[in-house]
């Protein structure tokens, strides 16, 4: 492999780092997601703790070289425990001027900037409004710029393979990947075998990609541009078997596990919607696990079919994002009324309306809690990390089956697509969530409730002697016949509420990271866990009296929430909405919680939460060193 770069006169030095955050950015056709994923796999297999965040455009093919067409993938890898994909990159790899322009603002001064100088043509520069070439006009002085003719070097490396220009161009992301592998002293064998496997049927393409990868690596090795290489040693993770997992993957796997633990088949009704569709794609492949999937005509039919399946004794499951949840609302009310188990996954995205489909937000909390007619209580859960998506899928079903109730499972675009290493659980450690069907005729009434759980019996069609009718009309307590009796409606409304409220006794208490009392409690829910946890940790290290608590159960709330909140002088609730949890907390506990709210379609940065906590502490007269 020759790259024509002069051999190094001075040897490269090596530096050890605790953590590095890289952002790969390019055109959506440049393969940046693939590049990022490959680097992630490598880092994970090496033993680093990792966290990733893909950031891709809503348009499948935005115009090439345009700002809306920029696709990014950020990953953080570390030798210590990490919770977020990093606030800002240490290294930005920009494959064209649009990628540079869209991402430069987030690269701190002094950060490394690796660009494909071949893409900085007058046409590409003009497309994104650069009057002059930033690579040459000195405007990038504050960064550590490495300008590499990626396209030229890459096509030279692939000469003689007989690939078309277009095919050659498509391999240049592997050049960039190879260079990064060199820079961080990584072994490329796994990526090489991945390429061989992926392009089994097209050996010439496989060869092209491998040559590109090695050319990138060799370029680092031989050129004089880079004087330092970096090593991020493995992290000390809990012993066990690991794999890398996104929230959506963990959700789908968790649903299959729940099915086995409940000894009932999953029926998944769904309508395609970003960012939830991957769950459908994944579950559709699990037919040998007894999973039936149904791509419905619309969101309403998706949830309707799931309810029908639950009525028949299966585990009726549906998923969507905010706009689709809005459409499912009426049917969710039906599930509340007929008291059938149902799990509804809401992978939240920026709203209202179509909003920003690929961007994250926590704007649906009040929608799922209150967005139905009448008094319509149901259970709401929110896993905090991609790995938790697995356990909470099982937990959602445990509650739905035991209490005969719909459960909403809240994820979001960040959680769904972000990845982290996942310690694969041992199935023997998971407990059964199976519930019996009602078969005894003696004393059967459709709304005769279990004394502890208040659940009504699940009497499946096909059971002799238990023929009965259910429906959306109010039913007489116990007997289950249609009833318009005023006192009965009042009683049934209270019973439905009491059933959900009672679940509080069957869930773990809210856990606190940090002192049990003190100046400030930061309370969060959902995917903001990592950023809050890291910010609070930093302030604890700086000597602040601060703790973090994260709600996984939004309805009912754990029984100790009030006591936890009252043990701190101030409560700060950061949310990617305008204060929905805060509204609930204030109303329920009469605590003057402070909000920190941003709806930028992006996850919180650790630094902004840290700064906000410092500001709140200052109101108590506390200054932090």
């Amino acid at each position: 492999m020759s790259t024509e770069a002069p051999l190094k006169a001075t040897p490269t030095t090596q530096k050890q780092l605790e953590r590095v955050t890289i952002r790969f950015a390019g055109d959506s056709g440049d393969g940046m997601q693939l590049t990022g994923t490959q680097f992630t796999k490598n880092a994970a297999a090496f033993g680093n703790d990792i966290s990733t965040f893909p950031d891709y455009p809503a348009e499948i093919r935005a115009p090439a070289g345009s700002l809306p067409g920029v696709s990014g993938f950020q990953l953080s890898f570390s030798s210590t425990d990490i919770h977020t994909p990093g606030d800002a990159p240490d290294v930005l790899v920009a494959m064209n001027p649009a990628a540079l322009k869209a991402n430069l603002g987030e690269l701190p001064a002094g950060g490394a900037l690796i660009v494909n100088e071949d893409a900085f043509t007058p046409g590409n520069l003009q497309k994104v409004g650069y009057a002059s070439n930033p690579l040459g006009d000195g405007s990038l002085k504050q960064w550590n710029l490495f300008s590499v003719p990626v396209s030229t070097l890459n096509s030279r490396a692939l000469e003689g393979l007989g690939l078309t220009n277009k095919q050659v161009d498509l391999t240049k992301n592997f050049f960039a990947l190879g260079l990064m592998f060199w820079l961080y002293e990584r072994d490329m064998a796994a990526t090489v075998s991945w390429i061989d496997d992926k392009f089994k049927k097209r050996p010439e393409i496989a060869e092209g990609n491998k040559r590109a990868l090695k050319a990138g690596y060799n370029f680092g090795e031989t050129t004089e541009i880079f004087h330092e290489r970096y090593v991020v040693p493995p992290a000390k993770l809990r012993p066990g078997h690991y794999r890398n997992i996104t929230g959506n993957e963990a959700t789908a796997l968790g649903m299959v596990a729940a099915s086995q633990l409940a000894e009932r088949p999953i029926f998944y009704g769904s309508y395609p919607i970003t960012p939830a569709s991957d769950i459908l794609h994944q579950l559709a492949g699990y037919k040998n696990f007894g999973v039936k999937t149904f791509q419905a005509e619309d969101e309403i039919a998706a949830v309707g079919a799931a309810i029908g399946a639950s009525y028949g004794g299966a585990m009726g499951l549906t998923a969507s994002s905010g706009p689709g949840i809005a459409l499912k609302t009426e049917a969710m009310g039906l599930a509340v009324m007929v008291e059938l188990p149902l799990v509804v996954i809401d992978v939240q995205r920026a709203g209202p309306s179509t909003g920003m489909p690929t961007k994250t937000e926590q704007g649906d909390l009040l929608q799922v809690l209150f967005g139905r007619n009448g008094e319509s209580p149901l259970v709401v859960l929110a896993p905090a990390t991609p790995a938790e998506c697995f356990t909470f899928a099982i937990e959602a079903w445990r509650i739905a089956l035991k209490y005969m109730t719909p459960v909403v499972y809240m994820s979001d675009a960040f959680l769904a697509n972000g990845a982290e290493p996942w310690r694969i659980p041992n199935l023997a450690d998971l407990s059964s969530i199976a519930v019996p069907n009602r078969t005894a005729r003696e004393g059967f009434y459709p709304y005769l409730r279990d004394e502890t759980t208040l659940a009504r019996p699940w009497a499946l069609p096909g059971t002799p002697g238990l023929e009965h009718r259910i429906g959306g009309l109010e039913k007489a307590d116990v007997m289950g016949n249609v009833s318009y009796d005023p006192d009965n409606h009042h009683r049934m409304t209270l019973l439905r509420q009491a059933k959900i409220d009672g679940i509080a006794a069957d869930i773990p208490p809210l856990e606190v990271h940090g002192p049990a009392e003190g100046d400030l409690l930061v309370l969060g829910w959902g995917s903001t866990y990592g950023a809050i946890r890291s910010a609070v940790k930093r302030l604890q290290d700086r000597g602040a009296s601060i703790a973090h608590a994260h709600l996984r159960y939004l309805n009912p709330l754990p029984e100790n929430v009030g006591d936890v909140l009252k043990a701190y002088k101030r409560v700060l609730i950061p949310e990617l909405n305008l204060g929905q949890l805060r509204m609930l907390i204030r109303a329920r506990y009469l605590i003057d919680a402070i909000g920190y709210n941003r709806v930028r379609g992006k996850p919180f940065r650790i630094a902004e939460l840290e700064a906000e906590a410092v500001r709140v502490l200052a109101t108590l007269g506390v200054t932090i060193a």
Binding site: G290, F294, G304, A331, P425, G462, P464, H468, R469, V482
Partner: protein, 355 residues
Amino acid sequence: MTDTITGADNGAGNGAAATLPELPVLTRKDFVSDQEVRWCPGCGDYSILAQTQKVMPDFGYPKENIVFISGIGCSGRLPYYMNTYGFHTIHGRAPAIATGLKAARPDLMVWVITGDGDALSIGGNHLIHSLRRNVDVRIIMFNNRIYGLTKGQASPTSELGKITKSSPYGTVDFPISPLAIALAAEATFIARSVDTFTEHMQATLNAAGNHHGSTFVEVLQNCNIFNDGAHREFTDREVREDRTVVLEHGKPMIFGKDRNKGIRLAGHQPEVVTIGENGITEADILVHDETDPLIAFMLAHIYWPEFPVPVGVLRRVSRPTHHQMLVDQLAQATATRGAGDLTKLLNSGETWKVE
């Protein structure tokens, strides 16, 4: 994990009566629930209920394996009166709920009871998709051409210009043809009957119950409170023979008190002719073929007063059913890949070990 759910330990794998030992002989009375029927006195729904209860024993299903699912409207109350399993759902969504139930429980015989507003307005999307998927569910649509439960607004089958509470100056909406919709959606069984044609309705419901696949039956029903006499012009006892044509597979479309009128094709246009006039003989009359899409299309579009109203089975064809294809896919996936092993699945992809 169980792939097959049944209601109980009755060992019924697929619910066909034949697999059950000593099925007691059921009668109409077995299908009458203890609920007081609450439709308006004189409503056509009573007759539909009675005929439905009457034909139920014919199918050989134990009554616990029969489910009636309804939407919203006067028709939606029917499940309460059937001593089977019943689910009174929400407006227009019954076909979707039935689709999920049948997919999860192929052993059940599932019926959907709906009305013209429920099926064709708010639930139009679910109707066409359950029909096109060939979901093995029998959809009985009561067509009274009005909204009854909400007290008399125009429905999607109300005639153009109809004066109702919601259209004091007359509607400006053309009506939809339920059978044409069912045909466009490729339902595998399409039929029409009339609330007062009791024997015909029994025969039609019987044929519907014995079909496997998406079954759509329009029952012309009289709402004597809000749209009395909507179908009278061709269903009244004195005129019905002259103004309706009873379809029978393989038989010529002959009708009339004197059995001397028929439908003939002139080119691709249907016309009403009289046998014995202008040299017309029975041989000129179009023979009904339940499998012919063009005949079905023609029959779905002719109506009184230009033509006699066709009643009976317009179309009956065989196609694989939705639940069967789903079940087959599961079986095939299991055959080729083995029963799902969760431990293996969780450990799939690239994994690594931390000591």
